[in-house]
């Protein structure tokens, strides 16, 4: 057994010094071990943090040496929340290698499945994983000073969500028994029904294939989905109102809550929801996605080109349980952009298990960076990219350059506009708020795709075609799939020779967000957010609630981070 310890450098000393060791951090997906040095005494700060992915299954290695036709169904299983994103990215990679793209109905159905996945995952995160951190039992135990304030604070969104006071929202967020907790379970079941009508099953769809889908979608299928999606119009309005009220309450109670989980405004996303009319065209390739691709550094949009976004990606393993690799034959991508030897298409997966050591290797996740920057992924990155890209985004969503305006049709509640403004500060509360607005964005995407899909199904004939045939060439080819899950950025990179996979590489959203330090020693976004977090809550039991709120606001998926 190793004698190395996990005591992080820069540990506080003094009466309030504590090593916060969360193994596991519960209410995230996959295994996450977070170790932070905190001072519950004078400074009320966190001086160091390491985030460790604690499981490795070797999906990339398993894919190597398999028939290329296995890529979609095997890679889907890398993540049981983002299975749709992985199977789609796998299909896109094979399609690029074979030079085929799906017909419009295939694009529509894939768009729909991706939107439905968000409609399942966003409420699951907001109410099952993050929500309990703001619930009555947790607030009463970790910040009793806030509870009486919540009881006397009227909720601004009462007319929408139906809770008169902020304390009523907190009661409803209670794990298991709270109304919002149970409602989220109920609503995700509605979205699951819509998903499985076209995807066959969830979270690992059975109908996504290179060339499109094998779904036998007809008017009935779209009818079943449409009638479930419209239930989300009101639910989105309500979810937004709840998370607006939670953020505003904490800010007003104590300004320092604005520093919980604070981080630079660095975001990366490959975009979602291809325009069904332009996807195969010359300007296609992500440029017309309804949720724009985008790389944003310090709040400024750098590019919306999928190729440029991908070309800037590097993966580092200096602090990961992998050996560094050499070689890799790609100096440029197909668009002529230079690629680093650390680019996923040049990467080899060489596992090297060990005991974690913060100065050495400590995580099963690699450290993904974009042009050297740690980047955040997920619903929040989609909102930022869509807001800043200022391009058409489907029929219901407008981008103003600084905000996303969503024209919500009526449900039981009247039609209205939900507008997400890119905030001036970036922290745990803003991540959750952005995710709530992203639920509305996903709902509108699902609604619009189903309306288009219904039209194509009604027209029948070649319009209803959902699949284009493909043939995997015998000669060596390579391909990449750029897509996103509810958690955002997913890219798959494959090289095929003799119809067999030679090298398969997966970058998941949390390979960015939940990453360890990189070669330069720069912490990953979640690690940095924890270190920026002041211990604002009185937290008499030293539970570390502010740290946990910071971590959970990322909606991490450690299975995507470390496949």
């Amino acid at each position: 057994m190793s004698t190395q310890t996990l005591a992080a450098p820069g540990t506080h000393s003094g009466a309030g010094a504590r090593n916060l060791r969360f193994n596991p951090v519960t209410r995230v997906s996959g295994g996450l071990h977070l170790h932070a040095a905190a001072d519950f005494g004078g400074t009320r700060t966190v001086s160091d943090a390491v985030a460790m992915a604690t499981a490795f299954r070797g999906y990339e290695v398993i894919l190597n040496g398999r028939d290329a036709r296995d890529a979609v169904f095997i890679s889907s299983r890398a993540c049981g929340v983002c299975g749709n994103a992985h199977s789609t990215a796998g299909a896109l990679a094979v399609e690029m290698a074979c030079g085929v793209s799906p017909p419009p109905q295939g694009v529509v159905a894939r768009n729909f499945l991706s939107a439905a996945e968000c409609m399942i995952d966003h409420p699951s995160h907001l109410f099952l994983r993050a929500g309990p951190d703001y619930s009555e039992p947790v607030v009463r135990e970790t910040s009793p000073e806030l509870w009486s304030r919540a009881e006397s604070t009227p909720a601004a969104g009462a007319a929408v969500h139906g809770f008169a006071r902020v304390s009523d929202i907190m009661t409803a967020l209670t794990r298991n028994s709270g109304f919002l907790y149970r409602e989220a379970l109920h609503m995700t079941r509605i979205a699951r029904v819509a998903y499985v009508v076209i995807g066959g099953k969830y979270p690992h769809p059975q109908t996504i294939t290179p060339g499109g889908l094998s779904s036998t979608v007809d008017t009935t299928d779209y009818n079943i989905t449409l009638l479930r999606i419209v239930k989300y119009l009101d639910y989105s309005r309500k979810t937004v109102a709840v998370w607006d009220d939670i953020a505003d309450f904490f800010y007003q109670a104590d300004q320092r809550y604005g520093q919980v989980g604070a981080g630079p405004m660095n975001f990366i996303d490959l975009g979602l929801w291809d325009d069904p009319h332009t996807v195969g065209g010359p300007s296609g390739f992500g440029e017309t996605r309804w949720s724009s691709p985008g790389a944003i550094v310090n709040g400024a949009l750098q590019t919306t080109s999928v190729r440029e976004i991908d070309a800037g990606v590097e993966e580092f393993v200096e602090h990961s349980f992998f050996e560094n690799w050499s070689g890799g034959g790609y100096s440029h991508d197909a668009g002529g952009n230079p690629l680093s030897s650390r680019h996923p298409s040049n990467k080899q997966t060489i596992a090297q298990p060990g005991n974690p050591n913060p100065d050495g290797k400590y995580s099963w996740s690699t450290a993904a960076r974009w042009q050297g920057h740690p980047m955040e992924t997920g619903a929040q990155a989609r909102m930022w990219a869509t807001a800043l890209a200022r391009r058409p985004h489907g029929s219901f969503v407008e981008s103003t350059g600084r905000s996303v305006r969503m024209n919500m049709p009526s449900g039981e509640m009247p039609a209205n506009v939900l507008e997400w403004q890119a905030p001036q500060r970036w922290n745990a509360f803003e991540r959750n708020r952005a995710r709530a607005y992203a639920l509305a964005q996903a709902t509108l995407a699902a609604y619009e795709t189903v309306v288009i899909g219904l039209d194509l199904a009604r027209r029948g004939g070649s319009n209803a075609r959902i699949f284009n045939p493909y043939k995997i060439p015998k000669d060596g080819v390579s391909g990449a799939g750029y897509w996103g899950g509810a958690r955002g950025f997913v890219s798959h990179h494959m090289q095929i020779d003799g119809r067999v996979i030679e090298n398969y590489q997966i970058v998941g959203p949390s390979t960015f967000s939940g990453s360890p330090r990189d070669a330069a020693g720069t912490p990953g976004p979640c690690e940095a957010a924890v270190m920026a977090t002041p211990l604002v809550s009185s937290d008499p039991t030293e539970h570390g609630i502010d740290v946990l709120r910071a971590v959970r606001s990322f909606d991490l998926c450690m299975y995507c981070a470390a496949q």
Partner: protein
């Protein structure tokens, strides 16, 4: 019911029914993907919250310790695992395994493929497996918790049979729970591992088995029926093909040529006829979806041979060359006979009598076709023999006088007919 604020420690859970018994459920994830947890949350028969809140009469309330759901984190979360492994929980518990188990017990040096908790969370009564600040392997928790469990349920194909992490070329040496615990394993209640396969399983299959076992443990009921591999017989006793809504296509010898086609999917890689699964009967969610129902070919994800014995995907299983050809010959003949009978069923007795079908849709069969008439004649003979001949009775029925009322009234609507014809969608021959 009210929550207990002091229960935030996570040991008992935030809510507790006043009167009921408690059974703890410990969830372990190793070579997993969270997909099994995700389908468990989607289950409706019963729902996970009905179990955790104790809302089903006659069942104990379950206290679910789950890394993706539990309130408390780190040591606070692990203390119940520690107590259970230590034998000091003082309450019955069930162990749920998600994901396969890596062979990291046999790693030569330090490290792990899946870890949860640190050495300080580990009960010293079970020896020393990790330094206080070092991660504990999930494979350690499995051997420590399995013997004291009322029952171990392997949830999903990774935990049952190894699944994809155990596929050819893997470097983790992963295996299913039964392989890890060995043939001699029995739970505290004397049960071998109960298996709920699927990648992911139908969520209801899991919560239903859990509920049935809880009923059994309450006493007064027999053990639910499990097959020779520990699968629920009522869930996995049939092939998925038998309840497949595309099985009728197979019967009539018509097959999908490419993805997106409606017919039987065998020739685009469906293994349904040899796979034990109930997704075509139960649906994937609330009796909706299910692989082939949505057009997805079965790749055998519930079976011990998954994935390698079903690879490459999208390729027809070898056996289908014989069974498919046989079905084309016999099914093709049956299909043609059926279409002839169907044509007869597709006309009102009134139309037979009037020798016309009064519709502007214009695609209805020609009732005056002589072959059709001969067919119908013999069919009726057979159908009504030994009973009442309704065809004869219908003939004696007078034609309704107000039939074709618009023509009788002199209202001319012919203009709309050609427009309608243009919009007719031709459907492939049945």
């Amino acid at each position: 019911m009210s929550y207990e604020v002091g229960a935030f420690g996570g040991f008992v859970g935030a809510t507790r029914r006043d009167d009921g018994k408690l059974v703890h459920v410990f969830w372990l994830s190793a070579m997993a993907c969270d997909g099994c947890s995700v389908v468990a949350l989607g289950a409706n028969q019963p729902r996970i919250e009905e179990l955790t809140l104790g809302e089903i009469p006659g069942l104990p309330q379950i206290v679910l310790h789950h890394p993706m759901l539990s309130e408390d984190a780190g040591a606070g979360f692990m203390q119940a695992y520690r107590a259970a492994a230590d034998g000091t929980l003082n309450a019955p518990y069930i162990l749920i395994m998600e994901g396969s188990i890596p062979d990291d017990q046999s790693l030569g040096g330090p490290g792990y493929y899946a870890a949860m908790g640190t050495g300080s969370d580990w009960p010293q009564s079970k020896g020393n497996v990790a330094a206080p600040d070092q991660p504990v392997k999930v494979s350690d928790w499995v051997w420590a918790l399995a013997p004291g469990a009322e029952v171990c349920i392997a949830m999903g194909t990774c935990a049952t049979w190894g699944g994809i992490p155990a596929a050819a070329g893997n470097i983790t040496g992963s295996m299913g729970l039964t392989d890890y615990l060995g043939a001699d394993y029995r739970s505290k209640r004397g049960l071998p591992v109960v298996n709920v396969p699927g990648c992911p399983p139908v969520g209801d299959n899991f919560t239903e088995v859990l509920k049935e076992l809880l009923f059994y443990f309450e006493g007064g009921r027999g053990l639910p029926a499990f097959d020779e591999l520990g699968r629920a017989v009522w869930q996995f006793g049939e092939t998925v093909h038998r309840h497949c809504m595309k099985a009728g296509y197979y019967e009539e010898g018509v097959f999908a040529h490419e993805p997106g086609d409606n017919q039987c999917l065998v020739e685009i890689g469906c293994w349904g006829p040899v796979v034990q699964c109930n997704i075509t009967e139960r649906g994937a969610q609330d009796h909706t979806g299910g692989c082939m129902i949505a057009g997805g070919a079965c790749i055998g994800c519930t079976m011990p041979g998954f994935p390698d014995k079903f690879s490459p995907f999208y390729k027809a299983p070898p056996g289908s060359a014989i069974s498919g050809t046989t079905s084309r010959i016999t099914g093709g003949a049956i299909r043609r006979l059926r279409r002839a009978s169907m044509a007869n069923a597709n006309t009102e007795p009134l139309w037979d009598k009037a020798h016309e079908i009064p519709t502007a849709w214009g695609r209805a069969a020609d009732v005056t076709n002589p072959v059709r008439k001969v067919n119908a004649f013999f069919y009726k003979k057979l159908q009504y023999s030994g009973s009442v001949n309704h065809a004869k009775r219908a003939k004696q029925q007078p034609l309704p006088l107000s039939r074709d009322i618009l023509r009788q009234k002199g209202i001319d609507l012919e203009a709309s007919v050609p427009v309608l014809q243009e919009h007719l969608i031709t459907r492939e021959e049945l």
